[in-house]
Symmetry: C2
Subunit: 362 residues, 2 copies
Amino acid sequence: MTRVFNFCAGPAALPTSVLERAQAELLDWQGRGLSVMEMSHRSDEFVSIAQQAEANLRTLLQIPANYKVLFMQGGASSQFAMVPLNLLGQGGTPNYIYSGIWAKKAMAEAKRYANQHVAASAEISQLTAMPSQADIQLSADAAYLHYTSNETIGGLRAPEVFQTPEQVPLVCDMSSDILSAPVDIEKFGIIYAGAQKNIGPAGLTLVIIRDDLLDQALEITPTMMQYKVMAENESMYNTPPTFAWYLAGLVFDWLLNDIGGLQVMAQINQRKAQKLYQAIDTSDFYTNPIQPAYRSIMNVPFQLADDALNARFLADAQEAGLLNLSGHRSVGGMRASIYNAVPETAVDALIDFMRDFEQRHA
Amino acid sequence: MTRVFNFCAGPAALPTSVLERAQAELLDWQGRGLSVMEMSHRSDEFVSIAQQAEANLRTLLQIPANYKVLFMQGGASSQFAMVPLNLLGQGGTPNYIYSGIWAKKAMAEAKRYANQHVAASAEISQLTAMPSQADIQLSADAAYLHYTSNETIGGLRAPEVFQTPEQVPLVCDMSSDILSAPVDIEKFGIIYAGAQKNIGPAGLTLVIIRDDLLDQALEITPTMMQYKVMAENESMYNTPPTFAWYLAGLVFDWLLNDIGGLQVMAQINQRKAQKLYQAIDTSDFYTNPIQPAYRSIMNVPFQLADDALNARFLADAQEAGLLNLSGHRSVGGMRASIYNAVPETAVDALIDFMRDFEQRHA
């Protein structure tokens, strides 16, 4: 078996050692004679798996005790509705920072429940830079401020955490850069993230929420969408996605014990991104439009000098064992997603391939 | 490795051959060099997996062309809200048949969106029999009639499909007996089922919906809860739970090609249930309270003559490789869930153990 280098934007590459462990245990978890998939979520065995996963996540992100961690379903797209449903029970205006396609989707969903205010927009820079703190103008009665820390499609990221007045919780869609570097949880009211980039397989969604925000839901909120219900039931109000939760736990364990924590992970990620952007910037053949300070560390979109070569580039890359380099269908071009589980050797191989391709076609 | 006999009510046993295939392909699906978990849901590879799963399900259940199959997240508990949210857009009164704990949960959720009418109730029989067709009294403006075909906790099932006037769609929570036997899909407006009993791992929810019911949602329905959006996007409006979908596909393949379809599966299930109920009925030591015509084929609750022996029974059973026989925490006693993937040999082993335990303790 040869494992390829997988630059998929999500569902994304998982650490090979995590998959090997899951494979070894698939029919018989620790001599119990059954798969994790076949365990009651209320069994001692699964509860220990679930608790260990949460404990390791808390260590990795240094999550304070007054924050709950929820293991949910439905992806970030469900959170786009859950955030307004859970935070607008006492009125107020949802405030959003516009930064690209994912921010727009979150905003579209909030419109269903209240008029919203755009507190800042990356449109001024034509989506090549995030708004800065000074650009933010909150509405008078802001219920919360929502932003997207990393635009997976645009390849744009917020280099720093925004600040809000104490009564305005900061809400962040961190789907595509959570766990890529340390982050100061206390600056946030809510962080949410779909699992399928840096956490585990698709079908799991992580929510980290300050506990004073748990009880502000609109009456119309379905039980399964109420953060309070999920928190009170340790994310087991109903049957959770147990196997995805277990795999996330293996990824957290890998980050903590194999990688050595988020400081180390951040250094590796910086190095990976830096050398790829440098390869792009030192070439006349490849371009990336994002202003350097706002370039994503996780998703690197780039264009070839000639769009007519795109198909050739992708076919040759695949031949070389470099998969899923096609840009999102809405923007075209190329995109290399270099999440935590994409090793530095994959980035090196990509850069070598890009240089070679350029020499053959420039 | 020794695989145990697993009588868990859910997440439940999966066919060993399905797990073996998933294990073999876990790091490298069909020579592609990556796991199914690591594939883009929009890749040719995953789309073929997804479509094959749906095609096999359509064959197994003979699903007519005017029904959509949706692969969703959130479990039946999310469907409890989605059904009223998606069907009450044109007004009307939700009608429910009460048959136990799961029906009650569905009813509680509908109350959030409209006054409801209890069209029939199993309370008359103290939950030992399902209402019959003659018991059903719909309200004048019924928007739909909802029932639970199998009460997983009570061990009570509806032996026949209820009939409704043409303008009143029949909605069924089939979580714990879907695919246990053939069913006439055309009698239903909507069937839904959490995956973790007869379909696959937890984290996937199946919805089978007649296409004229897709466009009746309340305005407040979150995008991710709109059946119409899921149908229009082939269940890929956002990233679906790809690995769970793939595993469900392996289970459908097993049912179709290893078992030989739902007629054969139904015969095996009948035989399993019949011998277990017979063992209970011919003993003075074990009892099951449900009237024979309404006994579940999937979940067999039973009590010992002396509750003080429960802990001993469970410990000895575990010792004998018979796991998860404890009744639901809300009712106590024992429960053997004998879903499709629990082999007849497991039921035989349980009956032998029960006889032996009785001889030692009666």
